[in-house]
Symmetry: C2
Subunit: 152 residues, 2 copies
């Protein structure tokens, strides 16, 4: 990844918190910006990604190729809501509900996707190591929880 823009966005990513990385990840989806999207991932051959209904994809190059294929159809109109966080000193597990909008022959459709994103802090800063998304649904499934959601 000798691309000078990649170097710059990776440096910016190194300074970011898990929340900031997550914001960058979804912003890059909305912009269809592959370089920016890949900047949030850890440089580790065991990073992994499961797209809705898809196989397990392991490693930065393989993950980049899947997003390249997705972006070949244009940016992804996605926003996140109902964020839940498990946070330890060096590991952040975020649970998000993705609201994805797409156009089909009979108009605009919305799908809801449950996703888990994991970020790990190394000496290089916080980086994403996992994105696991379940297949989309037409309706949001209400969360089941011990406590009233404090999500936002």
């Amino acid at each position: 990844m000798g691309d000078p823009r990649m170097k710059k966005v990776r440096e910016a990513a190194l300074m970011a918190s898990a929340d900031e990385l997550e914001a960058t990840f979804y912003e890059a989806m909305r912009q269809g910006d592959l370089v920016r999207l890949m900047s949030v991932w850890a440089d580790d051959e065991e990073v992994a990604c499961v797209h809705p209904g898809g196989p397990r994809v392991v490693g930065g190059t393989a993950i980049m190729e899947t997003f390249e294929a997705i972006f070949s159809n244009g940016p992804v109109l996605v926003s996140i809501e109902q964020v839940r966080r498990f946070q330890s000193v060096s590991c952040a597990v975020h649970h998000v509900l993705e609201r994805v909008q797409g156009m089909s022959t009979d108009g605009m459709h919305t799908a809801f996707v449950l996703a888990t994103n994991v970020y790990v802090r190394s000496e290089k800063g916080w980086r994403m190591v996992l994105h696991h998304a379940s297949p989309g649904r037409e309706q949001d499934l209400p969360e089941v929880a011990d406590f009233a959601a404090t999500v936002h």
Copy 2:
């Protein structure tokens, strides 16, 4: 959780590695042993679980209730294969392929489920904080990876 057996199995879980916790988790599934299964989870209100096709379930009590409902139909004949691990000092992200066998009116069926399990090490030892399982498939989807799988 004042149950004396719970206390004992929790103490055993505190000494375990992420791999040992994972073995205990799936063994407890095969035994339909709710106390043992819950012993691997962190005592944190943000632990979360997504069963295949299900909603997000957050918190130990809510998670326990889902497994109780599952076990009311008997133990789960599940084994894991193709384990991939991202490991840092205090966070382990495991990717597994679950092979689940179930009986229906026309005989025994096998489903393949992609699952992500996350373990975090605290001062109390390693504990599970996430189980996210995608819906089952009749066929295993081959993994896409940068490097030849070194899984076992």
